[in-house]
């Protein structure tokens, strides 16, 4: 893989919180236009991996490169957008769908964060893309589970991010809603975005993600789903036997 094809590159990244090692010697190169599923046990380091990619934690050693930039520059360019877990969002917060999507624009706005004509246009396009235009004036709590996710995907699009990080996007969604969200994400990938999601849903993973990263304090393995999503590697990741999952 050539350097210009790499969206995210971690080289020998070590992250420690006080005395707890969260990531140890983690390295990964994720190419543009891929759809990666990140799996691992709770506390295995998935969140830390996301934080390192977003530049929210600074590794003690190692380097993180996003679209050829260091994380600080990547933040300024808004390369990476984050779709939070539903349970971490205050759904009673008095903001509308439109206002949340507009928050994707703050990186490019002036110090008072006033919206320009371009901002309004971008937000409208993003809402259209995720089929949420008719709900733009709703307060965010007045949406269904799938619609709530779409709002934050729209915010990522409004931000103009090349890379979308989604934390447990399918938690609490019914099967139909999950399918339609997956279809949206795949269509975004085909349009050129790089999608990375942390998931516990091992059953739907082979149909969703073309790449898989296995995390257990480090990146145990990363590669095309066909090669990496094997019984041996996944059971090693989860320290146990997984009889309910169909492997390649």
């Amino acid at each position: 893989m050539q350097t210009k094809d790499i969206a995210i590159s971690l080289k020998n990244v070590n992250v420690r919180y006080n005395n707890n090692i969260a990531l140890k010697d983690a390295s990964i190169d994720i190419a543009y236009h891929t759809f990666t599923g990140v799996i691992g046990m709770n506390g295995a380091g998935k969140s830390t991996l996301f934080k390192a990619i977003m530049g929210l934690v600074t590794p003690q050693t190692g380097t993180v490169t996003i679209c050829g930039d260091d994380t600080h520059t990547a933040q300024k360019h808004g390369h990476v957008a984050y779709v939070p877990q539903s349970e971490l969002v205050d759904w009673d917060f008095p903001v509308s769908v439109y206002e949340v999507v507009m928050m994707g624009r703050v990186g490019t706005q002036n110090i008072f964060k006033t919206a320009s004509a371009v901002d309004h246009e971008t937000v409208a396009t993003a809402l259209e893309r995720v089929n949420m235009t008719q709900f733009k004036n709703r307060q965010i709590g007045e949406l269904s589970g799938g619609q709530k996710k779409r709002v934050f995907v729209a915010r990522a699009l409004a931000q103009g991010a090349d890379i979308l990080l989604l934390d447990e996007p399918f938690a609490g969604l019914d099967a139909t809603t999950e399918k339609s969200l997956i279809a949206l994400l795949i269509s975004l990938k085909e349009a050129g975005k790089t999608i990375i999601l942390a998931t516990h849903d091992l059953l739907s993973l082979p149909d969703t993600c073309d790449h898989v990263a296995l995390v257990k304090s480090t990146i145990i393995a990363y590669g095309p789903t066909k090669e990496v999503f094997t019984r041996e590697l996944v059971e090693k990741t989860f320290d146990g036997v997984l009889n309910h999952v169909k492997f390649n």
Binding site: G55, Q75, K76, V89, F93, P94, V95, V106, G107, K113
Partner: protein
């Protein structure tokens, strides 16, 4: 006595004019901050800061410096202490806040008992806006008008900070700076409001208007407007009650705010029950 006379007559007196202006500007500043405080879930922190400023007020009195300055120093000291202890122990934040603010408040009481008369103590604890001096009135007015303008100018940033700090940080916004800037503005507001409502009750001004407004609307802009409206109304009722009935201004303001909250809450609970029953019948 007609209404106009009822309102205008007291304003002929300088002390009453000052009291009305100062209570109004205190009401506006507190109302604006209360919207953010309630959404961020920082009510207890506001309470902690308001108590922790007491020793600062007393020391400023001793040293003859503006008491807002002393209060501000202790407000920031409390914030930093709470943050530091929380990050370095397994004790939960609410307990840390409790320890820090009661200790500082106690220190204030010790200092006060040695230095200030009990009348002045009552003023610091419960406020006395009718007796405010020209200097203090100007100080309060300028500081709180400034805070109001600054918070309103940067309201979108503060709202983003309350709603999704991770997103803000991932776009390179200085979240730590915003965090401390907001706390500093909160500290300034508390110090500026003490003369009107006192240390004990200032937290009510910083929680109740925002909470009431939050019940009434799903839009942040309307939440701000409603909170400011409620707050101004309460402040005016407080100031006029002191004039006509000789009741404590601070107490009246906070009591009126509480009554408005309860009225809104009761109305909404009844309305919701009514709606649910109707839906059950129809279903």
């Amino acid at each position: 006595m007609d209404i106009l006379n009822f309102i205008l007559e007291p304003l002929q007196y300088a002390f009453m004019f000052k009291a009305v202006v100062v209570s109004t500007v205190v009401g506006v500043a507190c109302a604006i901050l209360s919207c953010f405080l309630v959404l961020k879930g920082w009510s207890l922190l506001g309470d902690a800061i308001s108590h922790a400023v007491l020793p600062g007020v007393v020391l400023a009195y001793m040293l003859g410096i503006p008491f807002g300055l002393g209060a501000f120093v202790f407000a920031m000291l409390a914030v930093i202490l709470i943050g530091y202890i929380k990050n370095n122990t397994k004790i939960k934040e609410d307990a840390v806040m409790g320890i820090v603010f009661t200790t500082l408040f106690a220190l204030g009481l010790m200092l006060i008992s040695k230095i200030i008369s009990s009348v002045d103590l009552t003023h610091v604890l419960f406020g006395e806006v009718l007796g405010i001096s020209d200097n203090d009135a100007w100080y309060t007015f300028i500081i709180l008008a400034l805070v109001s303008v600054v918070v309103l100018m940067f309201r979108r940033t503060f709202l983003l900070f309350c709603f999704d700090p991770t997103h803000a940080q991932s776009l390179g916004l200085p979240v730590r700076f915003i965090h401390y800037a907001f706390l500093a503005l909160l500290a300034v507001t508390i110090t500026g409001s003490i003369q009107t409502v006192g240390i004990i009750l200032v937290i009510a001004m910083l929680i109740t208007p925002g909470s009431t407004a939050f019940l009434l609307t799903k839009r942040f802009s309307s939440m701000l407007q409603i909170a400011i409206g409620i707050s101004i109304l309460s402040s005016l009722i407080g100031a006029y009650s002191s004039y006509y009935f000789n009741i404590a201004t601070g107490g009246t303001i906070v009591f009126v705010q509480g009554c408005i909250f309860l009225t809104v809450f009761t109305y909404q609970t009844i309305a919701t029950n009514h709606k649910n029953r109707r839906q059950l019948k129809l279903g």
